[in-house]
């Protein structure tokens, strides 16, 4: 059971992509690659369960550890626990959906799928790496493809958005780097050498004053990736300019890199500092939740709506992490997975609408349920999931976060929790407004009315497949959450 295959598979796919030409070959290769990844992810899941069932209590399973750079004691050290497995599954789901959605990508298709595959590789590597260097490496690997994807295939002010996204994410990783250096030079193994190894560092206790210095670097650095409050502005522009598949990836996976990093690096390695700063985190997260939700109300572009709602939803992730109770953190992880699937589905739906109607303005759309029932249904499901309807993944994650959050008895935490709960009402408001206008109501496709309304077609098989895959994921969590909780309990 080798985890490296997770990195090698996309690599092979990417190389194969470079060799073949013509949309037909390209997309087939890409899809098959993605399918293999998905299958492998499931194999991993099963293997993981078997090992746990066999009573393997190790913190990480499937570990592999090779020395990479001796002088700095850098290792290529990978392994997986439940959380990583969940994230890997998420990545596999979103990847395959993304490829299916961009099935008929004409412009520079080879490069497009190449970059997508590269992106997924980065994500996999990030989620399985147990060495801070490897982690950082994959974190940055995942940045540049986004820049190109948005800048080349995007729409609207794509260059601006691409540049903004790349620079802000780079800023984040710069901060992460400083934190890494700090952690590295302030821990010494029994052998007396510094180390990047997550597990070892977790054992050796970092001095508290050092934690106090470097926790903000790490947390803010990763926070930028997951839209921590003042640094979230890349999200709306980036998401809305990106091509559909890229938006799915951005919101679905790469925002989760941040959350995962906050959890794994910042919080786990520097618990005391996390305690000390948690109130700040809570406040920022709450601001993000509430203010993101209210900002969403005012958006008129569907992609902006979803982007801002992502800001608000990722606030839950940070909230859960900041609450530092076991349940809340579990909730945060669940929220990562759930939001990944849900927002990917949402972007997919929006993309499908956009491909047909060539507008994303809520004001210009209406009553699409009549002409494209499938897409409309997908849209509705995504919407209901994001407003936390029981039976879909959103509710499970959010209620877990609330439950965990409420276990903190301090007044501030309580207020934060209540505000967070309140946001679900606001969410309902903006989701329903969008849904009521776009899906329901009299049919309308442009300002000029339903002129080309009747020429519109419903989803093709690839789009249906993409949506189905994501919806299955959402339902699997929403209807039977216990497997996920079992998975990420450790």
């Amino acid at each position: 059971m080798s985890l490296s295959i997770l990195i090698i598979l996309p690599l092979i796919t990417a190389i194969a992509l470079l060799l073949c030409n013509g949309l037909r070959q390209v997309r087939v290769v890409a899809l098959s690659g993605a399918v293999v990844q998905l299958i492998y992810a499931f194999i991993l899941l099963v293997a993981y369960w078997q090992q746990r069932a066999a009573g393997d209590q190790a913190l990480m399973l499937f570990e592999e550890d090779y020395v990479w750079f001796t002088p700095l004691n850098i290792h290529y050290h990978i392994g997986a626990d439940g959380i990583s497995i969940a994230m890997i599954l998420l990545t596999a789901f979103v990847t395959i959906a993304g490829i299916l959605v961009s099935w008929s990508m004409e412009k520079l298709n080879k490069e497009f799928f190449f970059l997508l595959t590269l992106l997924s590789m980065g994500a996999y590597g990030f989620f399985i790496s147990l060495d801070l260097f490897t982690l950082f490496f994959f974190l940055e690997v995942a940045v540049i493809p986004k820049f190109l994807l948005i800048g080349i295939w995007g729409s609207g002010r794509k260059e601006y958005s691409a540049m903004k996204l790349a620079l802000m994410l780079m800023g984040g990783s710069a901060l992460v780097f400083v934190a890494l250096a700090g952690i590295y030079f302030n821990t010494q193994t029994v052998a007396g050498e510094h180390t990047f190894d997550l597990l070892q560092i977790a054992q050796l206790h970092i001095p508290v004053e050092v934690q106090k210095i470097f926790f903000p670097f790490a947390f803010v650095g990763f926070g930028v990736f997951t839209a921590l409050f003042p640094f979230h502005t890349w999200v709306p522009d980036g998401h809305s300019s990106a091509p559909t598949a890229a938006s799915m990836f951005l919101a679905g996976i790469s925002m989760k890199l941040g959350g995962y990093g906050c959890l794994r690096v910042a919080t786990l390695l520097m618990p005391e500092a996390a305690q000390a700063y948690s109130w700040i985190i809570i406040m920022l997260a709450t601001i993000a939740i509430i203010y993101g939700a209210f900002a969403t109300m005012m958006q008129t572009d569907l992609k902006y709506i979803n982007a801002y709602s992502s800001v608000s939803h990722c606030g839950f992730v940070l909230l859960g992490i900041g609450m530092l109770t076991k349940t809340a953190i579990m909730g945060a992880v669940m929220q990562m997975v759930s939001h990944g699937l849900m927002t990917a589905l949402f972007f997919a739906a929006i993309g499908m609408l956009y491909d047909r109607t060539h507008t994303r303005q809520v004001a210009q759309l209406g009553g699409l349920l009549k002409v494209m029932p499938f897409i409309a249904t997908v849209f509705v499901i995504a919407g209901l999931c994001s407003l936390g309807l029981p039976g879909l993944s959103g509710f499970v994650a959010e209620v877990t976060v609330f439950m965990g959050a409420w276990q903190n008895a301090e007044a501030l935490y309580r207020i934060a929790t209540i505000l967070a709960c309140a946001s679900i009402v606001v969410t309902a408001v903006y989701i329903l407004r969008a849904m009521g206008k776009v899906i329901m109501g009299p049919l309308q496709v442009t300002d000029s009315g339903s002129s080309l309304g009747n020429t519109l077609t419903d989803a093709g098989w690839n789009e249906k497949a993409a949506a189905a895959i994501l919806i299955i994921g959402i339902l699997a969590i929403g209807i039977a959450p216990f497997w996920l909780t079992e998975l990420i309990k450790q």
């Binding site: 001796t70 002088p71 490496f137 690997v141 691409a162 620079l167 710069a174 250096a181 590295y184």
Partner: protein
Amino acid sequence: MLIDFIILMKQELIITVIIFILLLLKIGTDISNEKILNLANGLLLLNLAAGFVGNQQGMLFNEMFLTNPLIVLEKNILSLGTLIVSLQSADWLKKHDHVPEFYILLLCTLLGMFFMISAGNLLMFYIGLELSSIPLAAMANFDLGKRRSSEAAMKFIMSSAFASGLLLFGISLVYGATGTLTFSEMAGHITGGSLQVFAFVLLLSGFAFKISVVPFHLWTADVYEGAPVAVTSWLSVISKGSVLFAFVSVLYTVFKPMAATWYNMLFVLSVLTILIGNLFAIRQNNIKRFLAFSSIAQIGFILVGITGSSQLATASVVYFVLIYVFSNLAAFGVVALVSAVTGREQVSDYKGFYKTNPVLSWVLTIALFSLAGVPPTAGFFGKFFLLMSGAGKGNYVLITIAALNMIISFYYYLRIVKAIFMDANEQPIERLIIPAYAKLAMVICIVGIIVTGLAGYVYDYIHSLSFGF
């Protein structure tokens, strides 16, 4: 005696021999440029190969000339760079009617660098330095007809003469203060008295001029812009690299006793250099000028690494120079090709470059990413290790500043990438045929960029040779 004289100085000797061969060819019957080019490249390849055989350490002419595996490695890096440059400049030289001269000058500077690197004595060092800089001035002027070329040459010779004047003044003061010119003896006499500090500052300025550290960098951009592309790439990579090697060894051996002082100096200088380099690079439209400023910023990062003053630091610097050779030369290779064929050197000319020349675009892009320090290119590893070695001193302010400056540098590198991939252009650069030599050079560079980083043992090897305190 003679035998180890040959062995220890083998690289210098080979270069000298090559120079003489070319001279003879020059006075002998004239033969076609192609032949000379093939010959020259062959000989350079030979030189590079020779670098790898039998390298033990030792010293000659009572400590005037000393060598050790690290120095040999450094020389090999330089020879590799030289080979790549000469491969790239091939099709520019084809049309040129002074090919042998070009190679003679080039190799003279290379020889000077070798001597400078393995100098064990200020006199030797000085001679090496001059030998490596005076021919460069002539090379900068190699497009005799071009106004800008001659202006560049003038600026270069003037400022380098001034710089060497100050350097010499510094050397004289050092001599006055210590009474010796040999590094090994000198180290004992360095006490950090104010006269010595002043002398050191003058010396430092000499180095700083060569590697264009702010505020001694002002010549760089103009010369880079004016000089022929081959010369520019040579200036930006090889000469800088050589001076860096010399600088590190002098700093770590001779001025070890006053480490505290120069640490602070380098702190200030590196911050200045990164900042100014970045701020200027943002605005440039001429791609050579842009690369000039970006290379200034790179030097800033290298200085951060040097402040580490550990074995890690030396290793990181050498490693980074190696990577820098690959990345920068790859970038310059594309630029050279484009300007040789079309004569266009503006950033705006590269708009829509991907439409017409996908391969070249990818080469340039990868090179720029490596310069910017994006994984999985080698540049990422290089920068990472430099900053780590800087962080080793525990000065996180410096690291934070440097890390945040990475953002700015990202901006301008991505600006080029944006031009290449995203911007539309009505008259893009036409489709270019890549000549064999240039292709070879690019392949070498790209392979280098990929392998040097990911293959850990390269760094391990360099580290095993390095020293520090």
